[in-house]
């Protein structure tokens, strides 16, 4: 059964098929002069990095409530697993539990399935917009997408393992492969979030099995939290007494307790681990720097707020002098973004269009995001400039 063992070796990798590209490029791509790279299953995404694979969703794809998987951003810190096979895959549950055990794919398939529509966003989304600029993948606005994630509840698995009273954090380890001496991508979440009814061991996105880029065969899904919490290619769940001590918990993925001066170092003791996302909106149309015909026009976008609900989106077409309420789309779910639209009558001229979301916790997007050395949680009021002809 060697074929079975190697069934994923060749799957889902990016590959160059230049011959087919030019005819498509001539009309399908917004910026054909940049060229295109063929990554099977990933359509029209911005290539931030090919190795490791880091792909960004262009904002024009924020036009459906559920993001189609080919347009869903991909974030990797490491090499994806070079080999995955169904028969050998195991998920072990151990640490501070009474009854450690492991699950096969078949075992996992017998557990009750639950679905959560979640907006997944990389903590570094918008990093390129911070000033002064900070190191890291230079995400624009599109390291975010929304999907229906399905799979067993993490708490059902933890319950079976019987967490000891001293078990306070839950660590996830994936099968991604570490280059050089890079610390492994291991993080943990507090037990309260782990046993939340909406925290999943997800095996599906939008009703289909996870693709390799999204963590096949199973990933953690920690709804409303930064994407880094939702470990892909999940293979180990370990209950710990305290937060996992590793690079991607500290100094990685931490945020200043108080806003400091842009460009100034932040002391480690003045930071906290990132958890839930903040309130944010993005304009998906018109696109920045484009020309628009005069007459009836619409501004479209999406807005999200992590564990909170978006209650209001306002649009300004005069650079922030006046604000108008946008109408919110009818599709909604607790952890999912809301699409929104604002109709206006466009007259010839230059316009700066802004969008600002407010959430159920009373948070509103600031005019300037809180600068931090790693460029996390950029959420300034969104802005595009257009010319109406």
């Amino acid at each position: 059964m060697n074929s079975r063992r190697n069934f994923l070796r060749q799957m889902s990798g990016a590959a160059l098929t230049v011959g087919a590209a030019p005819s498509l490029l001539s009309w399908a791509l917004p910026n054909p002069q940049s060229g295109a790279i063929d990554v099977p299953g990933e359509d029209g995404l911005i290539v931030r990095s090919f190795r490791f694979v880091d792909l960004e969703t262009p904002v024009e794809y924020f036009n459906t409530w559920l993001t189609p998987i080919p347009h869903f951003f991909v974030r990797n810190h490491m090499h994806e697993p070079s080999e995955l096979n169904a028969s050998d895959w195991r998920l072990t549950i151990g640490g501070e539990v009474e009854k450690p055990f492991s699950l096969t794919l078949s075992d996992l398939s017998k557990l009750e399935t639950h679905s959560v529509v979640n907006t997944l966003e990389c903590a570094g989304n918008g990093r390129s917009l911070h000033r002064p600029q900070v190191p890291g993948v230079q995400w624009g606005k599109g390291a975010v997408g929304t999907a229906r994630f399905s799979g067993p509840r993490l708490r059902d698995v933890l319950q079976r393992a019987a967490v000891k009273p001293n078990g306070k954090h839950v660590m996830f380890r994936g099968l991604d492969e570490v280059p050089g001496k890079v610390p492994p991508f291991i993080r943990s979440i507090p037990i309260e979030k782990a046993i939340d009814a909406d925290t999943l061991i997800a095996t599906q996105m939008n009703g289909a099995p996870l693709t390799k880029h999204h963590g096949l065969p199973a990933r953690a899904l920690v709804p409303g939290w930064i994407g880094a919490a939702s470990c892909k290619w999940l293979t180990e769940i370990k209950v710990l007494e305290s937060e996992f001590a590793g690079n991607f918990m500290n100094p990685g993925y931490r945020f200043p307790n108080q806003p400091g001066k842009p460009g100034e170092a932040v002391k480690p003791e003045d930071t906290h681990a990132l958890t839930a996302l903040n309130v944010k909106s993005a304009i998906s149309a018109p696109l920045d720097g484009t020309k628009v015909k005069s007459g009836r026009a619409a501004v479209h976008g999406a807005a999200w707020a992590g564990e909170a609900d978006v209650v209001k989106v306002e649009v300004s077409i005069d650079g922030g002098t006046s604000w108008n309420p946008a109408s919110l789309g009818h599709d909604k779910a607790h952890y999912a973004w809301r699409l929104w639209t604002y109709d206006w009558k466009a007259k010839t001229g230059d316009y700066t269009i802004l969008s600002r979301a407010t959430d159920s916790q009373g948070r509103s997007q600031p005019s300037t995001a809180v600068w931090n050395p790693s460029g996390y949680l950029y959420n300034a009021i969104d802005r595009v400039t257009i010319h109406v002809v």
Partner: protein, 161 residues
Amino acid sequence: MSFKKFASDFALRESNVDRNGSMWGQPPSAVRPGAARLSAMLFTAMAAVAVILPFSAFGQKPASVKTTEDLPSGSMQAKATTSCLECHEARIILQQRLSKATWAKEVDKMIKWGAVVDANDHDALIDYLSTNFSPDQPAYDPPRTSIEKPLGRNGEAKHAK
């Protein structure tokens, strides 16, 4: 879809891969630099660019259609390529716009994480990176992945109300 169906899809994919799997070698996300297979694949692909594009009726610029980029020329190009691109591709560097002090921190972090940099080259490497990728440089223009299933004939998508 039930998870049982999911498991059977797994098996289906497996047979698909068996039929077509030898086309590409390992997924590039897993390919290590220096792997002969990748080199062979890239060589073949580049040869394909050279042969096919001149005959293309569309005349697209092929220059940027590369899976991975190169670092800019300079006396440190070769050494930076060896030190940095062992673990990640050049685009990660090409898109940074950082001060010299921040570049120095990045280089030291990468050395801690396994990048091999000769002590004699340390300062020259930081100079090379901070000269080529300083905050005043224009932003890097990334390529996109090609579109297998376009949403609309004009490349624009409909917006739901």
